[in-house]
């Protein structure tokens, strides 16, 4: 067993983990139940978290390797998160089980490429499964979030 510090949504959490303990189980044990198992083999995206801003399938990740790494879970996003707002506005959910994973994938994409359009969005989300078939709404949500970011950037750049 190894003592580590997980930095989850900006909060440092000291935990003791075994070498084989999955990041998925450790985060859920800390109450972050927005991180969910769907397949156990990294093929559905329901367990997605961001580690230093990069998406990770936490069902395949050993917790011990994330000592000190900044982790983001969907439940820890700010109250007025642009991606969350656009998912709600676009009705991008049915059962909702997979949606936190899509939201985090969207954050990763928009941080890398705020100009992302439908093709880039689709390419980035190909590893996430929404069995309810809410893909069109999810794509719309991210297109709108991208537009919102571009407009915010333009406003910032405009002279006062």
């Amino acid at each position: 067993m190894t003592p580590i510090d997980l930095v989850v949504n900006g909060e440092r959490r000291s935990v003791t983990v075994g070498d084989d303990d999955l990041l998925l189980d450790v985060l859920r044990g800390l109450g972050h139940t927005s991180v969910r198992e769907g397949c156990g083999v990294g093929a559905c995206g329901a367990c997605t978290v961001l580690a230093d801003g990069h998406s990770v399938s936490s069902c395949l990740a050993r917790a011990v390797r994330y000592d000190g790494v900044a982790l983001t879970t969907a439940d820890g996003l700010p109250a007025a998160d642009d991606v969350v707002e656009e998912f709600v506005a676009a009705r991008a959910m049915q059962c909702g089980y997979c949606i936190p994973g899509f939201v985090l994938m969207g954050h990763e994409l928009l941080a890398e490429n705020p100009d992302a359009g439908a093709a880039e969005i689709d390419a980035h989300l190909e590893g996430n499964i929404c069995r309810c078939g809410t893909y069109l709404e999810i794509r719309t949500a991210l297109e709108n979030a991208a537009r919102r970011r571009r407009e915010a950037t333009r406003t910032e750049k405009e002279p006062a």
């Binding site: 859920r28 139940t33 927005s34 991180v35 969910r36 198992e37 769907g38 397949c39 156990g40 083999v41 093929a43 559905c44 329901a46 879970t73 969907a74 439940d75 996003l77 969350v84 998912f87 709600v88 009705r91 991008a92 959910m93 049915q94 059962c95 909702g96 089980y97 997979c98 949606i99 936190p100 939201v103 969005i121 689709d122 989300l125 190909e126 590893g127 996430n128 499964i129 929404c130 069995r131 309810c132 078939g133 809410t134 893909y135 069109l136 709404e137 999810i138 794509r139």
Partner: protein
């Protein structure tokens, strides 16, 4: 036919409104997006022991020994329990199932499929339980297995020695102790007198196959159970809390009041999480060991819990010289696996629509439910109807083509209209097949010439319609609590699994009372609190539970009017409920709901309660003819049309435009209806093109999400057009019916008919994989 939805409903003339027909946001939208909604496995539980089962490695074998010594020696393992152990304690009650009491929660004496639970390892922690399960050594004496549905129909080997009808579906009692058969149920439909085809008629016939598939809701199955004195409490991801309560009470021989079943918002289900899944084992272990247990299964194990029926159909259809369908014949074989589950119901309910939604002079259907040595097949969105629709919509298409007629025009001439009596004997109402067909073909601009390239990519268009009966007879109850501040709490046992029932029911409850969006809280199903509801399935909830909720809300309105009449000193007939509260039309005196309830009880925080029930009845079908004047409360009508290209180099199908339509009576929330229409269609795209469970000698070989293909964002058609068709149902809540299954039913044949249009090949086996299409193209080239 289109009727003003507000003109024909029972509550016409009521003042309030503002809820039904509105695009309210899902009640839990933000919590879902942030992942803050708790599913069953997310709830904080009392300390539980973990249970993992050791599974059969043989498809059909007698259990000669179970050696648990090594498993018990694993650190953390508390106990190992076998089927024989539970049978000694609970007797034959451990055999459960809705149709036949044929499935033990742990195998007793015999295993019938690869993956069947043989022993339960109870341990402190999931890892120890899993390690223990690996160590259970089972001695088998192998029996000949039967894997193929058409081999199983013929005779031995037999999966079960005798048929054991359950007490749940009472109408199967006549099958008790039937021996030497794998056919556990047979439904026959005979309509009209068989006759020689008239001169100039055309007949087409084919063999069709739909493979078994899996629901794969992304939330994994989960059940926890614990005993408190003489009570058993269960938390389970289930669509059927009321059923589970009765099933567990029967299993343990305890009163209903001693069993509490709680469900939770489901992370999808599609039929996977209903009737007896993990609950009987969890209940039996918790009760007999007097402990708390948790069963959390892996995706690989979830594939073994239930599947969609593989189905073979031998079908033929005849049209006369005038283009009227005069005869249809279907021989349907459902592969129900080792345990019947609801297979017999699927066999009947699908058999009665195996000829499609057409006016047909003479129809014959033989539909059989067949045991094989494979994992059990159960309910799946569509309840067996997509499998027979695959047959009749392919046949109708070929029949039109054989006559040289446009497939849409041919269907339009033959489709059932309002008031028509179907071949099963029950009339049509609020099921506008023609309207749905017209809607989807118009969306594709069907009558315009299609650009048909002749090179590598070939383009085609196809259409299909579907019919399904709503689950009947069933029961719903609702208890509505109006809080003194004019918010409301609604207690129902309908389970929200993504279809949006919490929002729909909130809108129905709000409508008669004029309550605003966000004011009605729906309590999650809990049999200690929420009243009996048959099941959340079969697209029944909007109609059945919706009617109970509407009645409860109307009863609440009447109570408010009575209280106001007493307060104002006027007759109740002079009191009106308006958006601002209750008003006397005589005196103009008024009181808001908070003022009224505060005055009535003399206290803040008080509650006023109303309740209602809603039941549907049917007339059982005749055992000889399969016909009934009321076999169902109502019908679902849907249609799909696809425009696509086939890549003749790779065999890949690319759907350019998919239009889907369903007659929903009236859309309570159009935005959510469109999501159900679209979501079911995208699931159907998977069934059409790649989705299937692959078996080798009865063993699933693609039971992981690395191997099992599901529709991703890349599989969504370039354009999807969901169309709501509204022909209000005379007794629907505000005219409404359900929608969850409507568009999955015609989806696969619509795509196959478009492929037929594109490359001139009729494919009769699903899914339409690249390999199948390339093989068919190669065969076509050889012939030419």
């Amino acid at each position: 036919m289109t009727v003003d939805p507000r003109s024909s409903v029972a509550t016409a003339g009521t003042e309030p409104g503002g809820a039904v027909g509105e695009r309210w946001t899902r009640v839990d939208a933000r919590a879902k997006v942030r992942g803050e909604l708790h599913h069953a496995a997310d709830e904080a539980l009392r300390p539980c022991l973990d249970v993992v089962v050791a599974r059969s490695t043989r498809p059909h074998a007698l259990i000669e020994s179970v050696d648990a010594a090594a498993a018990k020696a694993v650190d953390g393992v508390v106990d190992v329990v076998t089927g024989a152990d539970l049978h000694a304690l609970l007797g034959d009650a451990i055999f459960t199932g809705p149709a036949f009491a044929d499935q033990p929660c742990l195998a007793v004496g015999k295993v019938r499929y690869v993956g069947e639970p043989v022993a339960a390892v109870i341990a402190r922690g999931q890892a120890a339980a899993r390690a223990g399960a690996e160590e259970v050594a089972v001695g088998y004496r192998e029996l000949d297995p039967v894997h193929d549905v058409d081999a199983a129909v013929l005779g031995a080997p037999f999966v079960h020695d005798v048929l054991r009808p359950s007490i749940v579906f009472g109408d199967l009692a006549h099958l008790r102790d039937k021996r030497d058969t794998n056919v556990n149920y047979e439904y026959t439909l005979r309509h009209g007198e068989p006759a020689e085809p008239p001169p100039g008629s055309v007949t087409v016939s084919h063999e069709f196959w739909c493979p078994p598939t899996h629901h794969v809701p992304i939330e994994l199955p989960f059940t926890a159970a614990w005993r408190i004195g003489d009570r058993l409490e269960i938390l389970s991801a289930t669509q059927t809390p009321s059923y589970v309560r009765q099933s567990v009470a029967d299993l343990l021989g305890i009163p209903l009041g001693s069993v509490r079943v709680r469900s939770a918002p489901l992370g999808g289900s599609f039929g996977a999480k209903m009737y007896d899944r993990l609950e009987p084992l969890a209940a039996a272990l918790a009760w007999t060991r007097n402990t708390a247990v948790r069963l959390a299964v892996t995706r690989e194990e979830a594939f073994l819990l239930t599947t969609r029926h593989g189905c073979a159909v031998t079908g033929s259809m005849t049209a006369d010289a005038d283009g009227n369908i005069v005869a249809a014949d279907s021989d349907v074989r459902y592969d129900t696996g080792a345990y019947a589950d609801v297979g017999p119901r699927i066999t009947a309910k699908s058999g009665m629509v195996a000829s499609g939604p057409y006016r047909i002079a003479q129809a014959h259907v033989r539909s059989r439910c067949v045991y094989t040595n494979k994992p059990s097949a159960g309910p799946f969105r569509g309840f067996g109807v997509p499998q027979v629709t695959w047959s009749h919509e392919s046949l109708v298409d070929e029949l039109a083509r054989a006559r040289g007629e446009d497939p849409a025009a041919f269907r339009r001439r033959n489709l059932l209209r309002e008031g028509d009596v179907s071949v099963v004997g029950t009339p049509m109402h609020s099921a506008d097949f023609v309207g749905c067909l017209d809607a989807v073909t118009d969306a594709l601009d069907w009558d315009s010439p299609l650009h048909r390239p002749t090179g590598r990519y070939r383009r085609g268009r196809g259409v299909a319609v579907g019919i399904k009966a709503v689950l009947t007879p069933t029961i719903s109850n609702a208890v509505l609590q109006l809080n003194q501040d004019a918010s409301a709490t609604l207690m129902i046992s309908t389970v929200d699994m993504g279809q949006g029932s919490d929002t729909i029911m909130a809108q129905i409850a709000a409508e008669p009372l004029g309550l605003p969006e966000g004011s009605v809280r729906v309590v999650t199903a809990d049999t200690d609190v929420t009243p009996y509801d048959t099941i959340t399935a079969g697209s029944r909830s909007t109609y059945h539970t919706g009617n109970a909720v509407r009645r409860a809300a109307e009863a609440m309105r009447d109570k408010l009017v009575d209280i106001a009449a007493a307060r104002f000193g006027v007759p109740a007939t002079d009191v009106k409920l308006t958006g601002d509260g209750l008003v006397s039309t005589q005196t103009q005196e008024s009181a808001s709901i908070p003022e009224l309830l505060h005055g009535h009880f003399g206290a803040r925080g008080t509650t006023l309660t109303s309740e209602a029930e809603f039941r549907t009845t049917w007339q059982p079908y005749d055992k000889e003819t399969g016909r009934s004047p009321q076999v169902t409360e109502h019908w679902f009508a849907g249609a799909a049309a696809a425009q696509l290209t086939v890549d003749t180099m790779t065999g890949r199908v690319h759907v350019e435009h998919l239009a889907i339509a369903g007659d929903v009576g009236r859309a309570i929330n159009p935005a959510m209806v469109e999501q159900q229409l679209t979501g079911a269609a995208i699931m159907g795209v998977g069934h059409a093109l790649f989705d299937q469970i692959v078996f080798d000698e009865g063993q699933i070989v693609n039971g992981t999400l690395l191997d099992y293909q599901l529709p991703s964002i890349h599989d969504v058609p370039d354009k999807v057009t969901p169309i709501i068709v509204e022909n209000p149902h005379r007794t629907g809540p505000f005219g409404a019916k359900g929608v969850g299954e409507t568009t999955i039913i015609p989806l696969a044949p619509a795509i196959a008919n478009a492929v037929r249009d594109a490359i001139g090949i009729r494919l009769t086996r699903l899914p339409l994989t690249s390999e199948r299409i390339l093989d068919a193209l190669a065969a076509q080239e050889e012939q030419s």
